[in-house]
Amino acid sequence: MKLAYYPGCTLHGTAREYDASTKAVCKAAGVDLVEIEDWNCCGALEAIFDKELSMGLSARNNFKAQKTGLDLVIPCSICSHNLSRADTAMKKDEAFRKKIERALGEKYHGVKMKHLLDVIVNDIGIDAISGKFKRSLKGIKAVAYYGCLLVRPSEVSKFDNPENPMSLDNLIRSTGADCLPFTQKTKCCGGNLLMSKQDYAFILTKKLFDEAKATGANCIVVACPMCHMLLDGQQTMIGKVHNTVIEMPVLYFTQLIGLAMGLSEKELELDKNMVPASKLIGSIGKEAKVEVKAASKAQVAEAAE
């Protein structure tokens, strides 16, 4: 499989480990990624409310992808939303298409594009990808966090149920890791408010940690660099502001399946995550021990009573 690849700004910056692990996992799965030339910012969440500007900026990337003649894969949920929305508008709204064609001096015919999770779960398929796994990740107890734009609005993102998506849950389970029920899986992390209303963003993200911890999870798995920025990048700050210690590793789903594929921590850039994942990785294959410990703790508690 050969696909055009749009990394988006964060994957060349704060989410570099998502870029590295995407490339490593795709290579191991036999997917060739061809990065589109001279791509630009999709407008992200900052232009999302300026609909025409957001779609115009995104459309330029679609033109670049069109030149490759390949289908396009996008790992960032925000970019994926913006580029897909622009593609639809370019096909359906003639006045808008003419504006952008005038700006770029080219004709647009359309590009097939998908989020990376959709490609891995539905195009490659969980059976085929798990055939490449070399070790079980038993010991990892994850919750799958989808956030917002990965599955909403369903008129743009069509590959999973917008209220109770399961594709990431199923992918996590295929690695041998546990994936626990998580009612916050599509709740907002507040990423768009991080700069202008940080206290709200922190409250929204803190709620996710609270439930993840209550379910007994030892990590959160995400598919969006903005979610990761809040959950991983801001975790220490959120802990400080809310007077608690969170210590919850947050992995990109590509880092998780990369581990199952036997790829090295270096290739997956696990050292670039702000919250260390070393303890989590140490827990792989040691579930029995953990359970014994838990049992003995319970026994101690019983004895104390």
């Binding site: 910056g13 989410a15 232009a47 409310f49 330029r60 700006a103 917002c148 709740k187 929204l204």
Partner: protein, 189 residues
């Protein structure tokens, strides 16, 4: 008390003309948008149903100067659940666009920092083609928190820099002229 003499019956048409605002008149105020809103859960003053109702009634100034509309996190839950396909997230965007134009023309004042950050971000994309994280975040911090506040974020910036996640200089794409032309085209109304 709402004074009907002070209402602007054209406001809803003004919103409907703005990209994203087209469906506002389909709203029948069922509150579905508001009960699922994660921001409303932590701040009752943010109420998308009320913003829509006021807009439809023509409470133009009150809607445009309502600070709470800048609290929308663009999570699209209301957009997804709306039985009337009002596309609320985008309607909020349309209202914000009108508010920003009014503020530029000196007719209203916006107290919220959200448009400041968004505009710094968009300006950096306009000149570079990509967003300039260090520059935009730094300028925003200086403007909103002053030097003392901005310095408070230096340790995090340094940590990101050490991990190779933050670039000091902006990345410029080759096609910045194309980006400028896109801006020009969409700015023509």
């Amino acid at each position: 008390m709402i004074k009907s003499s002070e209402l602007d019956p054209n406001f809803k048409y003004e919103i409907a003309k703005e990209p994203g605002g087209e469906n506002i008149m389909k709203c029948f105020n069922c509150t579905g948008c508001t009960v699922g809103c994660p921001v409303m859960e932590i701040d009752k003053s943010y109420n998308p149903r009320r913003i829509l109702r006021k807009a439809l009634l023509g409470m133009r100034k009150e809607v445009l100067t309502d600070d709470s509309m800048w609290h929308c996190a663009s999570c699209y839950i209301c957009f997804e659940r709306c039985p009337q396909d009002v596309k609320i997230t985008e309607v909020i965007g349309a209202i914000r666009a009108i508010a920003q134009r009014e503020a530029k023309a000196g007719k209203i004042k916006i107290g919220n920092n959200k448009p400041l950050f968004d505009n710094l971000f968009i300006d950096s994309v306009k000149s570079n083609g990509k967003w300039y994280e260090a520059g935009v975040s730094g300028t925003f911090m200086l403007k909103t928190k002053g030097i003392g506040g901005a310095i408070g974020y230096a340790p995090m910036g340094l940590e990101l820099f050490k991990k190779g996640k933050l670039s000091i200089l902006p990345h410029k794409i080759k096609g910045t002229k194309e980006i400028k032309r896109i801006f020009e085209e969409v700015e023509k109304k």
